[in-house]
Homo-oligomer: 406 residues x 2
């Protein structure tokens, strides 16, 4: 019998390890492969020969791992060269897989990872090598094409909605309140910021304004809206995506000192403080607070969505089945069959249709003024935050287990 | 039969409303007062006649309120004048209380609130007015004298410990990791930052360094320690209190633009980013992230400690009993009777012994280098984060109920 391998790539999510355990469980149930290996630190680690046998770990260890946030197999941001440029990396990787009698490779990641799956799928098809390559989606950004949503997003949305409620109350305790700005991640798309529409008290959304990268951010309109709302309510609650841009398409938060990551994406953050200073300078009030949720959005498993954890598990489970059916070069995608009752199924999408593409928050779900989402958006988000998981608890805190060097 | 009143003051906590419900419950059980009123927005609101009847609300509403974070009666930062300066505010307040046939006044707050309780207790004793004044402790800072700890602290500590674990994993996924700085609140004292010592994986504390305001922060030592640890481990996890100071006693984060609140306390924040820039400038690495937990520390009831919620309830409950016994001008304090099993009792402390005093994190629990807490600190913190509460849930998010204008 042959073996399979799974690895993780790109930014972590709270539920990414659940997909890995889903795959291990599928193999236990189906007994398709002798061993399930894990490559530590993604492609980069596998190229260094950093491989462990995941199926050798106990049920208890794997169950703790299932409820551990962040990439417990380690991650990488390694972009393979184009085949036209050099096939040496491809050949080296395939040699390592062959040496370990590996017949299926699973990569849990976002669009950069699907690029890798697509390239490897193409190369093995061309060269007649019998190894299947299947992508398993993950990203809190929810920006992958051809899937209703991505595992990891629901938990991030739940954390954002919960902390929106909590910080809204925290910012409303005085007779004279101020303005509160909650900054979410979302470099290119507004899914995360938009999910704050879930936060309601007495069925009324608590965020007065939600700003997304999908519409042009106009500072004059912004100050006018905030000023009017402040006069009306003596408080304003604002949710803003880190990725909002001006009419020229430039990030509002971008400065000359801005760093860029390996893929040339600008490293953002700080738009909340930018808007805070803008409001104070405009003279509306100087009682303005800004909070950046930062990496908590992608690792706060203590506030995870149970359905998200389950769906992450299930896409991992399905990935193994799809590989056994002979598929290669595809990503497992989630199709929403119905909303009430919430029901989904899994389909395969060619990985090259996902790679280097972005699914934007729909413009038709944004209001005309561009300062909030429409009521219909609620229906999309609501099922994704269902249920509270039972984490493994030790000394009154979540117990975590990783296989990388953490 | 006469009535009583309760109000909240100062910064919110996650469990402050639990104390209010504890007092209402005590009155239901004991039937001491006809009505339990609430003053909205503390003393400031009561002086404006902003009073509601709390005991008229349903069990369900009060139960939702019990699990609602932040000051659900509204808060204020109102400092009463010294009696020597003017008694007019005192007389006005007492007139309002008399007009409502109020015989006991309860104030949930920190040391500024205990100042109010002390002054009012003194004045009524002097003038022979039969109204009892009892303080109920709350503050996430845990800096009140003569009480083992303060309600609100345990939940903040649990949130800090949990997010320390989660962000530690998030910052450890790559082959080449960087340095992560988690900034906690704690203007004067290090209790909050020190509670990060609870965060352990395989019984090993994950924070490499914990910096508190109680020791002088030396930038050279800091850079030396961080550099050595980074060379050793290829990653460094740092927890820092916003209130760390240099040898001259100046806040590290203090700048010329620093705002001050009404009591003259400097409004801090940003020390994490300060240290991030310091590390980058020193050339150790430019892979440095800083995260400010901000107000989430005092409102994240979704990560509350059940024992903290219960203790908040119980101090409220005891406050009513102490007032009935004829006490006035005191705060209810928590005495730790034993650690295993964890057991506490309530005692009364004169409010003027609390007011304008600060309980510092003990120097003997800080290591010699001043860059971490000693192992013994763990024993103090551990019982305070016990248990997970059952919040009221609605549409998969916590359901909240407030009585102020939120």
């Amino acid at each position: 019998m042959s073996n399979c391998i799974i690895a993780q790539s790109g930014g972590p999510t709270s539920v990414i390890n659940s997909s890995v355990v889903g795959l291990v469980q599928a193999n236990k149930d189906i007994k398709a492969f002798d061993k399930v290996y894990a490559g530590l630190n993604g492609i980069e680690g596998i190229l260094n020969g950093n491989i462990i046998e995941l199926s050798a770990f106990s049920e208890a260890e794997l169950n703790t791992f299932r409820y551990t946030p962040s990439s417990g197999l380690g991650s990488c941001r390694y972009k393979m060269k184009k085949l036209e440029e050099s096939s040496s990396e491809y050949d080296m990787l395939l040699e390592i897989l062959k040496a370990n009698d590996i017949k299926a490779f699973f990569y849990v990641g976002g669009n950069d990872s699907m690029d890798t799956i697509s390239k490897l799928g193409d190369y093995t098809k061309k060269t007649g090598i019998d190894i299947k390559f299947i992508g398993i989606p993950k990203t809190i950004d929810n920006d992958l094409m051809h899937t209703d949503h991505t595992p990891g997003f629901g938990s991030a949305a739940k954390f954002i909605a919960t902390t929106t409620l909590e910080t809204y109350l925290d910012s409303s305790v005085y007779i004279n309140n101020g303005i509160f700005i909650l900054e979410t991640m979302g470099r290119d798309t507004g899914w995360l910021a938009a999910s704050a529409c879930l936060a309601r008290i007495d069925n009324k959304q608590v965020a007065d304004f939600i700003y997304l990268p999908e519409t042009v951010f106009d500072e004059d309109n912004f100050l006018e809206d905030v000023k009017n709302k402040f006069i009306e309510n003596n408080k304003v609650f604002i949710v803003v995506s880190e990725g909002i841009r001006n009419a020229e398409g430039k990030f509002i938060s971008e400065t000359k000192k801005q760093a860029h990551d390996k893929f040339g994406h600008a490293q953002l953050g700080g738009v909340g403080n930018y808007l805070k200073n803008l409001i104070i300078s405009s003279g509306i009030t100087n009682r303005v607070k800004a909070l950046e949720l930062g990496v908590l959005q992608r690792c706060a498993i203590h506030c995870a969505s149970d359905i998200d954890l389950k769906e992450a598990f299930e896409v991992g489970y399905s990935a193994l089945k799809f590989a056994l059916e002979g598929n290669s070069g595809y990503m497992v995608a989630i199709k929403r069959e119905s909303n009430s009752p919430y029901k989904t199924s899994h389909i395969l999408v060619e990985a090259n249709k996902i790679a280097n593409n972005v699914k934007y928050f729909p413009k038709e779900l944004i209001n005309e003024r561009g300062n909030n989402v429409k009521e219909e958006a609620y229906e999309y988000f609501a099922p994704l935050i269902s249920g509270t998981p039972s984490l493994v608890i030790d000394n009154n805190l979540p117990k975590f287990k990783t296989f990388n060097n953490a």
